[in-house]
Symmetry: C2
Subunit: 207 residues, 2 copies
């Protein structure tokens, strides 16, 4: 049990931080879950914030990397977009996915802390770059980068809304109705169709 304690604490911290956020989570709850003493946090990490950063680091290190070498770049761009959306929506919405890793990343996206910069560099950034490249293939060649970015935000905005505004959505159209929308396949189909039409229009307009 040399530094198994350290491991258990990071794991418990990820669990609790992802559910309650940095401030709301208490060291006592984390240590209770990890079956460790409260002093262990200061002994192993120094303070609460360092532990938090450690948990975020672990979250995005252990999440599936965007291995560009294994991304099917030879697929038609519209198929690549469909695939990208399916992956993103699965990561974000799939309730079957166990573990706190994605939840913590999502929380950090909504409430950035000092850990965010590294998260953008190591997790969000590469994915965003991939999306932009896919979009570039579907947009006029001479389109300024800034406009490509606008399209990228349009694509991810449609996904994020289901993750970050779920409670409002439930109140808005009823809980059952909203949960019925939570089908990755259905959402993938809708969003990719919607986006591909928007992209095609931008392509035509440029002619």
């Amino acid at each position: 049990m040399t530094d198994e304690t350290r491991e258990r604490i990071v794991d418990a911290a990820g669990e609790v931080f992802s559910q309650k956020g940095f401030q709301q989570a208490t060291i006592r709850e984390i240590c209770g879950l990890a079956e460790a003493n409260v002093a262990a946090v200061n002994y192993h990490f120094g303070d609460k914030e360092t532990l938090y950063v450690e948990a975020v680091k672990r979250a995005h290190c252990e999440s599936v990397p965007v291995d560009r070498s294994e991304w099917p770049s030879d697929l038609p761009a519209d198929e690549q977009l469909r695939l990208f959306l399916e992956k993103m929506l699965t990561d974000m919405l799939d309730r079957e996915t166990p573990g706190w890793h994605t939840a913590l990343i999502m929380r950090e996206m909504a409430h950035p802390t000092s850990a965010c910069e590294e998260l953008v560099r190591g997790y969000i950034g590469p994915r965003f770059e991939l999306l932009c490249e896919i979009l570039r293939a579907l947009l006029p060649q001479d389109m300024p980068g800034r406009d490509v970015t606008l399209h990228a935000f349009s694509v991810i905005g449609q996904c994020l809304v289901y993750r970050f505004h779920r409670p409002v959505g439930r109140l808005l159209i009823g809980e059952d109705e909203f949960e019925a929308l939570f089908d990755v396949e259905r959402l993938t189909r809708h969003i990719s169709n919607f986006c591909l039409a928007g992209l095609a229009a931008a392509r035509e307009e440029a002619l």
Copy 2:
């Protein structure tokens, strides 16, 4: 100064709550801003949560109501959508807008509390309904309500992303570049073009 104190406290509470959220805001800071004694909150409102609900209530009561009678329903549907987007983006992004009202509503959208239900009923709901009606005019007549809802979420998702993920956006493409995107006119044009193309495609597909 009979219940001017009460007014000052609600106003200061809205200010602080909108910036820091319910938990992070402290009664002492609110009362400091309101130039009132800490005990005044309990005297006038009972407890912190009641004060919060009061502030949210004031926020959406004083915000511009969706007066359906003065909405230009005779405009072409695509123009209505453009107008709707412009209003929504202006409310959400315009930094010139003083006051905490919108900021508090936005915060409640991301972190719903007990005040959210009433907010959905009195503020978000009517606006969402209006959007759905506009979209219905742009979509096949026989399209199921559920699919109209999907399109509505696609529209508002593209707006919300600029409000709720601003910090990540700044890190992602650089602060200056991101702020340059924050032009209501430009965003309105992009999002409405993008959406109108998606809607047109859904219309054609139904033929």
